[in-house]
């Protein structure tokens, strides 16, 4: 009491307000002693860089805690809002990209730092008595961090997180006895959905970090209790934790943060140097297309630090569930058991050596498996494909049959062996190409989803997937590939491989169908019987080909200007923009009108084709009214045998919208509409 009184009386002269406040607090909390104890810890042998890993890990975790809480303020965990809210954070909120980028890449830095910390502890033998318990705690902390990484990967609910999580949870399902229940509990049911997200989110942001903080407090206090385990032999005088070791720790923390920021900002720097615009939403962590259980995702891979496990499981391919159980649970379990035994083994000199060798071997194994996985995926990027041309040709010729190969190489065993090797290489290249193509597709899908999400109307309440599923640009190519591409090509004739693709097709090339240029090609005597139009169809020798090749070439009846007028009229029917060389023509309306009259008239197109109210009846040739328009296209895809289209003259085209009694048609009306819109190039485009 009297001390207090003295202080309040004397202090104002010597101490500022801060000092007084400090005294006040210290008297009541004793914080100075605590701070003193925290900072003035003896570091035997002086501060060293090799001791920084633990502190950088704490720093990384704090960063995750801070960024995670702020992300939480904008994240919404449900199947209809998870992707959408992450999109909003990444692409619409100011600074969201940076926040998410730091969280994403610091998580990866944490895994690296964990490995370094573990390595340092094992090499220095810091796990020995009396620090065994702390080592075990450290291992548990490591598992918790990996658990947070695994659960965090799902939260954006994009394709890659979704499919990677399906694999991970299915692996949990193979644990004997408890597996299936465990899986069901984690997923929150038997299907992936709202409760998978809420549960993963609760694990990621609640249970796991909560447990981690508790363990970390014990880990740190045990660390303080036993003191720092100094690297032997000690050659320098002791130092104090503050400021000597703290200085090194702080520099290391800043370096870690600089690396994370560097990874995020590097693409921005590159774009700026190349003079391109920087789109903030494209910086930092990527966001894939929204999770779609109905869409195969061949690019599914876990985050890079789990790639080794992914690759390791491949070793056990072909062993079925036993193999997976062995690879995903037994081996990792054994490795963890050995690690838990390390402090005990380390009591013997040989045991310590074993521990170091074991840890290094595990890390080397992880490194090797990771590089194998990467090599498998990206092999096609660094192999010289020209050297495989021969092998590819032979493979195509023989269909990959070893006997035929032997025959083709005159049974020269050396050559056959060499070629078999080449084929193996080829197989790997194709495998890798498939992955690269899937990744490219995944990137394109993601970019499209993000473009759609930015529409002024925003995302419908049913979620992004709804929008993607009704998007002609996303769905058109898939539906076309599935249902149309076995006959029709869809390739820009000006591209490199176009000719080969068109030659292989057995029906018209539908690229830019409905445009003036497409119509120009049809009316070109040199093209109409070619593979891009009727060349590979039953109409090859039909009336239309005959007409184009014989009548249209007669300039007396068909002057060039008339053909141009017909082209303009047909493009107008399709509702596409007028031909480029006609844009700016003053009288385009007059031209279209004249073209329509030509189309209708009996002695021109109208001789065979019905058009509006001309006298030719439906049934002899496709109706040209509204040709190439949405309705017309939907009609012909639905039923080309309808009298409005080919009627009885239909070649081989199936009626996609018609089905036998009681059966479902191959395509729904909506799907047909998507194909039509895609063919016509009608989809949302962001304005730039």
């Amino acid at each position: 009491m009297s001390r207090d009184a003295r202080q309040t009386a004397a202090a104002p002269a010597r101490k500022g307000l801060v000092g007084q406040l400090g005294d006040f607090l210290d008297d009541r909390t004793g914080y100075r002693a605590l701070v003193h104890e925290a900072l003035y810890e003896r570091v035997p042998g002086g501060a060293r860089w090799r001791y920084v890993w633990g502190s950088t890990l704490v720093f990384a975790f704090m960063t995750q805690l801070i960024t995670g809480l702020f992300l939480w303020a904008s994240y919404s965990a449900s199947a209809q809002t998870a992707w959408e809210s992450v999109y909003y954070i990444q692409h619409e909120m100011a600074g969201g990209w940076l926040l998410r980028g730091i969280h994403h890449f610091m998580a990866q830095a944490m895994v690296v730092l964990l490995a370094l910390h573990l390595l340092q502890v094992v090499i220095d033998g810091a796990y020995r008595a009396p620090r065994e318990v702390n080592f075990w705690l450290g291992l548990v902390l490591m598992l918790l961090v990996l658990g947070m990484a695994l659960t965090g990967y799902l939260l954006p609910w994009d394709q890659k997180g979704y499919w990677a999580t399906i694999v991970a949870t299915n692996l949990a399902g193979i644990v004997p006895f408890a597996g299936p229940s465990l899986q069901q509990l984690v997923i929150g049911g038997s299907e992936y959905g709202h409760h998978t997200l809420t549960r993963f989110f609760a694990l990621h942001a609640g249970f796991l970090p909560g447990a981690l903080i508790l363990m970390l407090v014990v880990h740190l206090s045990l660390f303080r209790k036993h003191g720092l385990h100094a690297k032997q032999p000690i050659t320098k005088p002791d130092a104090m934790f503050w400021p000597d070791q703290v200085l090194k720790d702080a520099v290391a923390m800043l370096a870690v943060m600089a690396v994370v920021l560097g990874v995020i900002l590097m693409p921005a720097l590159r774009a700026m140097l190349a003079g391109e615009a920087v789109v903030p939403g494209e910086l930092g962590a990527e966001l894939g297309a929204p999770a779609d259980p109905s869409l195969p995702y061949a690019a599914a891979r876990p985050e890079w630090y789990f790639l080794f496990l992914f690759q390791f499981l491949k070793v056990f391919e072909g062993w079925g569930a036993t193999g997976e159980f062995f690879g995903a649970i037994v081996v990792p379990g054994l490795i963890m058991t050995v690690m838990f035994l390390m402090p005990i083994l380390g009591n013997w000199r040989l045991g310590h050596r074993f521990n170091v060798a074991f840890t290094l071997a595990v890390l080397a194994g992880v490194g090797l498996l990771t590089s194998l996985a990467l090599n498998e995926d990206y092999y096609a990027l660094w192999v010289d494909k020209a050297s495989l041309a021969e092998a590819e040709k032979l493979h195509d010729q023989t269909g990959g049959d070893p006997e035929k190969l032997a025959a083709a190489l005159d049974n020269d065993t050396a050559k056959v062996a060499a070629m078999t090797n080449q084929w193996k290489k080829l197989e790997r290249v194709r495998h890798s190409q498939a992955f690269l193509e899937a990744s490219r597709q995944a990137k394109a899908d993601a970019a499209r989803a993000i473009e759609l999400a930015g529409r002024p109307e925003k995302i419908p309440p049913a979620g992004m997937l709804e929008l993607v599923r009704h998007d002609p640009k996303s769905q058109g190519p898939r539906l076309f590939a599935q249902h149309c591409a076995s006959c029709h090509a869809h390739v820009d004739p000006l591209t490199v491989d176009a000719e080969a693709v068109i030659a292989k097709s057995s029906a018209a090339n539908l690229y830019a169908f409905g445009s003036a240029s497409w119509m120009q090609g049809l009316l070109d005597p040199a093209q109409v019987a070619g593979p891009a139009y009727f060349g590979n169809t039953a109409h090859k020798d039909g009336d239309m080909v005959n007409f184009v090749q014989n009548d249209l070439t007669d300039e007396a009846t068909w002057p060039k200007a008339d053909i141009a007028a017909v082209v303009a009229a047909m493009a107008a029917e399709a509702g596409t923009s007028p031909p480029k060389d006609l844009v700016g023509l003053v009288d385009i309306v007059g031209l279209v009108d004249r073209g329509r009259k030509l189309v209708a008239s009996d002695d021109r197109c109208g001789g065979c084709h019905h058009f509006r109210d001309n006298s030719t009846a439906l049934g002899s040739a496709p109706d040209l009214a509204g040709w190439g328009g949405r309705e017309w296209l939907v009609g012909i895809i639905t039923d080309p045998t309808h009298e409005q289209f080919y009627g009885d003259n239909n070649d081989r085209m199936p009626s996609f919208g018609k089905a036998a009694e009681g059966a479902l048609p191959p395509l729904t009306r909506e799907q047909i509409g998507l194909i039509a819109d895609w063919l016509r190039g009608e989809w949302y485009r962001a304005e730039h």
Binding site: T67, G95, G96, P243
Partner: protein, 196 residues
């Protein structure tokens, strides 16, 4: 940032010369300063990024007020008794766009044979509860703190509400539809101020 680094570079070169002079306490001070600067910078990054994103809502302005069709003039009974009508418009909630959604309600009141109507916001000026009509149809009452308003929205003293019910600008469109200027006003103050 570059300022800090510059400063920090200088201090370090200072530390070297100070160190050679054997000035331990000075070196200790520099070590402390550098440690604090590095640690501070490293921590500022996540905190700064977090705050940047957290403050994002302040950048967003309220949607522009506009006239929205609410009901046909002739469909509103001309008996001077207010009737409640939903206000329907497109609404954007962060990433979700709702098309033609009920976003609130107004009371419309028409006197005998009148070609104009009076529109009142159903939002209580006291603290924003939804003001209801008394079942008797003789006055409005807010269920939260019992503010009572007359049928034309006037305040009945004493009242928790600082002002009368908010009248909304209102017009009759070409096709006979009553259109209301859909706006929100600050709650709890005597003056009627547009919010946002």
């Amino acid at each position: 940032m570059s300022d800090h680094e510059h400063h920090h570079g200088e201090s370090r070169s200072g530390a070297v010369s100070g160190g050679s002079a054997g000035d331990g306490s000075r070196r200790g001070f520099l070590a402390k300063a550098i440690a604090l600067v590095c640690g501070g910078l490293a921590t500022m990054v996540p905190v700064g990024a977090g705050l940047w994103a957290f403050l994002d809502p302040l950048r967003r302005s309220a949607s522009v007020a506009k006239f929205l069709p609410v009901a046909e003039l002739t469909a509103i009974p001309d008996d001077g008794v207010p009737r409640q009508y939903p206000v329907i418009t497109d609404r954007i909630d962060a990433w979700t766009g709702f098309a033609a959604e009920p976003v609130g309600a107004v009371y419309l009141r028409r006197e005998k044979g009148a070609k104009v109507v009076q529109a009142l916001s159903a939002t209580c000026p006291h603290a924003g509860c939804f003001v209801e009509m008394e079942p008797t149809g003789r006055c409005f009452r807010c269920p939260c703190h019992n503010s009572i308003f007359t049928l034309d929205g006037g305040i009945v003293a004493p009242s928790p509400s600082p002002r009368a019910m908010d009248a909304l600008e209102c017009r009759v469109g070409k096709n006979g539809e009553v259109e209301v200027m859909w706006q929100k006003f600050r709650a709890g103050v005597a003056a009627k101020e547009v919010q946002g």
